[in-house]
């Protein structure tokens, strides 16, 4: 008997909870445009969210204090993906159907970006990926453009090409070893493009080793790489953790080799973890926290929020500012609906965002010719070597 009433009560509570949330979240106030932000606050990539959310909120507050855009106030709605794709999908749906956002910032990784592009298209809400660089995020495998998906970072073919070019032409290296995280589309993609261009230039790939996300033991692979006589080790890992461990273990094995990595590892935590071991290593990135243009921002940010800004902060702000621009443009023609915002984003030309002036390529929805910075690590600090621009 007791069991029956318990079930009844539970069911009632559940239904009430669900109804309450649905009602509460669909309450709309006058002239407020909601912008969704999909980020990682828990889970393996939890170092991404905490630096971005306060920055975006600050920007939104600043806009609202100045009266909003064309009379519309902005509201930022943040959801945590737990670093899981299924959660990213669920929150994207929630933002579109429940919260009725006009635009979404995120996701930060390609494995989520690919399914989310379909959701953006279906829900007709523009989405701007911050750091997802796999080609298929905006253009599907069959070559069809996702009308509602954009990004503010450069894509893998670009970065892989740049890395190969620099290694061969500027550093004079001829024998490369690739250590690939086979579970990351980002890494696999980058290494593919690196290899392609490196071979074109006349270089050789003397070793190809793999590992899986979460592995901490690389000595077996490194010993083989040492044995292969390579003069360059390319580890375009998705997370700085891998590169830090690789550097430490390479040192332990007495492996002295030029290391190269991509923007996925361009965070201060890398220097903290393995600065000395990475002396002389090259990291390619789109933006750098040490650029003088960010000095004031960084100082103010750290003073106010107690944590350091990182590239995810900057890309997040880029996306937000792109949306601000698009809302402004759309408002000139009428009501800033998601579709109008999308149209404005597609035709964005020479707009000043947080990191640089950006023009959106209408046929790929990638930012046009974003400069690529080649950094090296000296004395556990980043040092700019050169800025790469495509020919």
């Amino acid at each position: 008997m007791r069991n029956t009433s318990k079930i009844k009560w539970m069911g009632l509570v559940m239904i009430v909870l669900l109804l309450a949330t649905s009602v509460l979240s669909s309450c709309k106030t006058e002239k407020v445009l909601k912008i969704g932000f999909i980020t990682e606050q828990t889970g393996v990539d939890a170092y991404i969210g905490p630096a971005s959310v306060p920055a975006l909120q600050d920007e939104v507050d600043r806009i609202n204090a100045a009266g909003g855009i064309a009379g519309y106030k902005l509201q930022l709605i943040v959801y945590d993906t737990r670093s899981e794709v299924t959660d990213a999908v669920a929150v994207a749906r929630r933002l579109i159907d429940q919260d009725k956002v006009v635009a979404i910032i995120g996701p930060s990784w390609s494995a989520a970006g690919i399914p989310l592009a379909d959701i953006a298209d279906a829900g007709k809400v523009p989405m701007i990926a911050t750091t997802a660089s796999n080609v298929n995020v905006t253009v599907s495998e069959s070559g069809v453009l996702h009308p509602y998906m954009f990004r503010v970072c450069f894509i893998d073919p670009y970065q892989g090409y740049a890395q190969a070019d620099f290694a061969y032409n500027k550093l004079g290296l001829r024998k490369a070893a690739l250590l690939t995280d086979v579970s990351s589309p980002y890494t696999v993609g980058l290494h593919q493009f690196f290899e392609k261009h490196f071979l074109e230039l006349g270089g050789e790939i003397v070793a190809k080793e793999g590992y899986n996300q979460g592995d901490t033991e690389f000595r077996a692979q490194l010993a083989k790489i040492k044995d292969s006589g390579a003069d360059l080790l390319v580890v375009d890992a998705y997370t700085y953790k891998d590169v830090g461990l690789v550097a430490q273990q390479a040192e332990a094995l007495g492996l002295k080799i030029q290391m190269m990595a991509g923007d996925g590892v361009f965070v201060p935590d890398l220097l903290e973890m393995a600065g000395p071991q990475l002396e002389g290593a090259i990291v390619t990135t789109g933006v750098s926290e040490d650029s003088p243009q960010f000095a004031d921002f960084n100082a103010a940010f750290e003073a106010k929020h107690g944590i350091k800004a990182n590239i995810y902060t900057y890309y997040g702000l880029d996306a937000l500012m792109a949306i601000e621009y698009a809302i402004g443009e759309a408002a000139k023609k009428g009501e800033p609906t998601p579709t109008a915002i999308r149209d404005a984003l597609e035709t964005m030309t020479d707009v000043q965002l947080f990191t640089s002036v950006v023009t959106m390529e209408p046929d790929t929805h990638n930012p046009h010719n974003k400069p690529l910075l080649i950094m090296s690590i000296k004395n556990s600090q980043w040092e700019l070597v050169e800025t790469f621009t495509p020919k």
């Binding site: 889970g43 793999g210 692979q221």
Partner: protein, 291 residues
């Protein structure tokens, strides 16, 4: 040849860490017949305890290590009293105890995650240059870790086979009910076993932290230790060490000579194959003789 030796050395150093964990696992398993899933958490706790002792309290390494051991013992015994003993006394099915252990693990690892965040932290001791024998590099820290690990295991062996308490524990491993009838205090046995567990996991945690990095999820390596222990043999201590060494070396050799991305697949297949041909593990007896 040099490459082969280098891989061998790497394998053995990994095996040493697996050994500490596998022995701890085997000890709990032989007496209580259940897998202490919270081992994962104890290890991370030990590593972080030492880490904070050095970083925030500026204590020297050996003192930090000692503090870590003491704190982990407190945690381990505490968990036993709070989460396990009630179920044990109630003679709850093993399933329940395992779920309880999983719960403890989940809670502790995530509390550590909440406090410290998921960043990989370098263990705050100076890096030392490795020793080179021929072209083969042997990490100095690995040597120290190896020596200490075996020292600890040797002490454990002495304790179990040369002291009265050790005898009591071995008796409980065979049959806890009969042992208690013979006058062995079950609660005391529990405290001793979990104290040993605390020591082993904190030492393993610190050495793992030094070898790689300190982070909340670091305990995931205990799965490998469990595989090693099963492969070696049902709950037997020397077998756990054998299994660990074997696993460490074979893993590295496979990674070096066959395929590095399939390394973990190999570990698992290894487990299956061994079980098919040696259902009680390599050194296992059919359950009558333990420890």
């Amino acid at each position: 040849m040099e490459l082969f030796l280098q891989q061998l050395v790497s394998g053995v150093s990994i095996g040493a860490i697996y050994s500490l964990l596998a022995v701890g696992y085997a000890l709990v398993y032989s007496v209580y017949n259940f897998t202490n899933w919270a081992f994962d958490a104890f290890m991370a706790f030990g590593a972080f305890a030492a880490f904070t002792a050095i970083l925030w309290l500026f204590l020297p390494f050996w003192l930090a290590m000692l503090i870590s051991i003491v704190l982990t013992i407190v945690l381990s015994v505490g968990v036993e009293k709070l989460a396990y003993s009630t179920l044990r006394r109630r003679k709850a099915p093993r399933l329940f105890m395992m779920i309880s252990a999983m719960g403890v693990n989940l809670a502790i690892v995530n509390i550590i995650n909440k406090i410290f965040g998921g960043t990989f932290r370098k263990f705050p001791i100076e890096s030392v240059q490795p020793v080179f024998l021929g072209g083969v590099s042997i990490g100095r820290m690995d040597l120290i870790a190896g020596v200490i690990s075996f020292g600890v295991l040797a002490l454990l062996w002495l304790f179990l086979y040369r002291t009265k308490w050790g005898l009591g524990i071995r008796a409980s491993a065979i049959d806890i009910l009969t042992a208690s009838l013979m006058g062995i205090n079950n609660d005391a046995v529990a405290v001793i076993i979990f104290t040993i567990t605390g020591v082993l996991s904190s030492v393993a945690g610190v050495f793992y932290g030094i070898k790689y990095a300190v982070y909340p999820m670091m305990g995931i390596v205990t799965i490998k230790a469990m595989i090693a222990s099963i492969v070696g043999g049902l709950g037997s201590l020397p077998a756990a060490i054998l299994g660990s060494m074997l696993l460490g070396v074979l893993e590295t050799l496979v990674s070096g000579y066959i395929s590095s991305s399939y390394r973990d697949l190999f570990s698992f297949l290894f487990l299956i194959v061994i079980l098919l041909f040696f259902p009680n593990g390599l050194m296992g007896k059919s359950g009558e003789e333990k420890l």
